[in-house]
Every structure is written in structure tokens, then in C-alpha cells.
Symmetry: C2
Subunit: 132 residues, 2 copies
Amino acid sequence: MKIFFAGSIRGGRGMLPVYIQIIDMLKRQGHTVVSEHVASVELEEIEARISDEEIFNNDIGYIDECECLVADVTIPSIGVGYEIGYAVSKCKHVICIYSRDSNVSAMVRGNKRIVSVPYMGMEELENIFTLP
Amino acid sequence: MKIFFAGSIRGGRGMLPVYIQIIDMLKRQGHTVVSEHVASVELEEIEARISDEEIFNNDIGYIDECECLVADVTIPSIGVGYEIGYAVSKCKHVICIYSRDSNVSAMVRGNKRIVSVPYMGMEELENIFTLP
């Protein structure tokens, strides 16, 4: 399945090692992740060279070509929230995952069009992503 | 004008005094703010008594009945990002304001369907909100 992975960029990069693992896991399961840049350690450097409008257009274009958006919502992020809202409006399959101890938005947890799943470690995540 | 004001709740309440001032200002200018609860000091207590699904349905219902969404995007927040994405998908007038020193998402700054305006203090904000 073609998947857009969404994770915090300007909201904070504290979960980067987890994002890298999630993308690796999705790829190992045979999925195509179109947004590998989200887990790049050089992302801020790359983004500094292009305009916000280019970043926006690229990301929206990537989401449009996917069937599914997987977002890690552990770290609060305006961009990730926007991408989730956009994907839902485009009737994409949306899965939000979050570290079990985080305080997740009601706009995610209370939303019937989103599958939201807490996780403790990568092992639990492996079980979540038995996507079709 | 009927306005939904969006501000961080579970992302962090550090800007609450500013949210209160923004809502007061919008009301003084003759607008109706349907989401005054966002700036309530008792919000967490109130929300603890209702389900995430009720919160989601209430907020989406409020946005639907508004012409305009004003979001303070200074504090990263999944919920605020979601509401912005939803409002844009419903062709609402969307204005994002942010403290001048914050690192705002490219999904807001690079989005031609959003008016985004930095501010330094309330005086600058008063000038932004000369809405029709």
C-alpha cells in the first residue's frame, strides 16, 4: 500500500529515532512510504533551501497519491494535525499512533474516521500494522 | 461575523491569557465567537466530564456554522492543525496568527488558502482583525 507517514518537524524532532523505525517497519511489511524525508536527519537543512509553499505543495501532492496516511501524534504538531484533517477530507484511510503516555487530541481520539492506536514499543507497533 | 477560535488544549495551555485577550478583542469588534470554551480556565475540568467523541462532534458542529476560523498556531497542537485542515476543506475563511518568534508549520505558512500573520503584542493583533 502507498502510505504517507506524518511526524512532527517544526513541532519538535524528539521522536525522530521512532519515526525512522516506523518507516523501516512499514517498508519491511511491503508498503511504499512516500514521505521518507519526514525521518531524515538532514530534513531541516533540506527544507531551509526550499520555500514553505514548495514544502506544502510537495506534501499535499504526496498525500493525494496515497491510499493511507499514518501519523505519529505523540508530539503536538500543527503540520501533522493539518495533514490528518486534509487526509480525512480526501477520504483516505487514516491511522494515528501515539506513545501510550501521551495526551492525544480529542479531534483524533473522538473521530470515527480515524483509527487511533496507542503503543508502548516497536513490538506493539508491528502488530498494529498488519495492513491489507 | 461568526468565528471559531482555535487554540491549543492538550498541546499545552501556556498561551491561555493571550487566547482570552484575542476572544475579547474579536467580541469587542462585533464578532460572535462560538468557541469561547477554548479560553476557559476550567476547560480541562469540563472536558474530563464528556467523551472525546462529544468534544469532536461539538467542535466540528461549531466550525460548520462559522464563516471564519481564527487559529493561534504559536503552540504546536494536533487538534488546532486538524481544525485548520477541516476548515480549509470546508472553504471557510482561515486566519492563522502566531507569536513572531515561533517556528510555524509550512502547512500553514505555505498554504495559499490560509492568511497567516505574525504578531508581537495585542496592539498588532487589533490591526490584523479589521475583518469585514
